[in-house]
Amino acid sequence: MAIVKIPPVLRAAVGGEKELSADGTSVGEILHSVAASHPETQSQLFGPDGGLNRYVNVYLNDEDVRVLDGLETSVGAGDTLVILPAMAGGAA
């Protein structure tokens, strides 16, 4: 179980929530659990090969999971996952 922070662009896909609790002991399990509960997030998080989309960064607490063990990174209770897609919004 971990807290997953949802970025603004994905909130519509999770019913407007800013953060979710999701089950799992690894980054992959937790994100799949989010996608199972909120199917619209599936294609936004994962590519056709099942890996994380390259334009979405996921952080365990403050560290990029790609420099950890990627989707295999183990997640403890009380950890927070941050999903961070690129934002280009200036304010022209």
Binding site: N53, E63, V67, L84, A86, A88, G89, G90, A91, A92
Partner: protein, 393 residues
């Protein structure tokens, strides 16, 4: 009867060597020591490049610091060539220097000839007053303020982020502000773009921004680029700037900027906003990650809502733009911990600030290579680069 002052001066000039400014120019490059003997306030208005300053009233006690060897070739100058003649006599007859000359016509003639003038690094009385609260900070002080005055910062956009950033950078005395924006002020901008005003609706944003900046701080030189930043002009605009403030509203230009700034090794202070949330990071080429290390590819159009019109809380770009301005000033001063290799996330509604680490990607297609290996043709390139934003509309 004693001779008049003019007569004494004439006699002195007949006993010393005088040289024309054109000769002094050559002597400077041949290793002569050039000494300005004018008063401090005269020196502070400009002097011959490379000259040392020893006011005539302190000549006897201080000239050895500027010219330690008695046989050294020394050229003295003042404003018009008279005080330096007196000073040359003193150095030769009283202090034992063997090779001293006085420049005819002084600094006035030097300037009239159009020769190079160096503005000394001092603040005017008005600047000391204007920046007094900076000068009181040990982290800024006169040296830091001079760094700010010397700094050249390029703002990409005089919009939501660029407006507050430009205002505070101008107020802080950043000497050159370049502004790239091809838009005109629209009434709907004024909810957040505080550098513009109601009466300037319809005016080009670069002109409107310049007007506000000049009114706020005449020390600032504004360079206007009423164009849209693109591959055809980025390598003409960026060179020469110390820092770029990125308030871009689209991914293709953001990648283009990244690639060009890595190649030119110019740090970029980047912010993005959406709704009630903002992101901020500093991309300092080769010291930290670049934008492509953070986001190697842009998201598909449906996840990039910034390509279209979106709501934004007006104060949010203000907050993020001022955080950008703060990072810019820290970089210029070399103070504090810049936001390099870190991405700050601000949630205005929750009133929370989070931070994640950004790592350099050893396989980054851009910053894993040497700057001169990055070609013009590669800047901002993606397989579906052009189609990217078009798909969002």
């Amino acid at each position: 009867m004693s001779p008049s002052g003019a007569e004494v001066l004439r006699q002195i000039k007949s006993r010393i060597e005088e040289v024309d400014p054109s000769v002094v120019r050559e002597q400077v490059s041949n290793g002569a020591v050039v000494i300005d003997v004018r008063e401090a306030e005269e020196w502070s208005t400009g002097h011959i490049p490379g000259a040392k300053h020893v006011p005539k009233s302190y000549l006897e006690s201080r000239v050895e610091g500027a010219a330690p060897d008695r046989d050294q070739h020394v050229v003295l100058y003042c404003q018009s060539g008279n005080r330096s003649a007196w000073a040359a006599r003193t150095m030769i007859e009283d202090l034992g220097y063997e090779n001293v000359e006085s420049m005819t016509g002084g600094f006035t003639l030097w300037k009239d000839r159009g020769y190079e003038v160096e503005q000394p690094r001092t603040l005017t009385a008005e600047q000391r007053e204007r920046y007094s609260r900076h000068l009181l900070l040990p982290e800024v002080g006169i040296e830091g303020q001079q760094k700010l005055l010397d700094a050249k910062v390029l703002l990409l956009g005089a919009g939501g982020l660029g407006s507050p950033a430009a205002l505070y950078l101008a107020a802080a005395g950043v000497g050159t502000l370049g502004i790239v924006d091809d838009d005109a002020v629209d009434l709907s901008n004024l909810q957040r773009q505080v550098i513009h005003s109601s009466e300037r609706v319809g005016v080009p944003k670069v002109d409107s921004a310049e007007e506000t900046i000049k009114a706020l701080n005449p020390d600032v030189e504004v360079k206007k680029y009423a164009v849209r930043l693109g591959p055809e002009n980025i390598m003409d605009i960026l060179p020469g700037y110390d820092i770029v403030v990125d308030g871009l509203d689209n991914f293709p230009t953001r990648y283009l900027l990244n690639d060009a700034s890595v190649r030119l090794q110019i740090p970029v202070v980047s912010a993005a906003i959406l709704g009630f949330e903002g992101q901020l990071s500093v991309f300092k080429p080769y010291d930290g990650p670049c934008y492509r290390c953070l986001f190697p590819v842009p998201p598909p159009a449906e996840l990039a809502p910034s390509c279209g019109a979106n709501g934004v809380l007006g104060v949010l770009p203000g907050t993020m733009g001022l955080l950008q301005a703060t990072e810019v000033i820290k970089l210029i001063l070399g103070e504090g911990e810049p936001l390099i290799g870190r991405l700050l996330m601000y949630d205005a509604l929750a009133a929370t600030v989070g931070e994640v680490k950004v790592r350099r990607d050893p396989e980054c297609p851009i910053c894993s290579r040497e700057p001169d290996e990055i070609s013009d043709d590669e800047l901002g390139v993606f397989p579906d680069y052009e189609a990217f934003c078009a798909g969002a509309h």
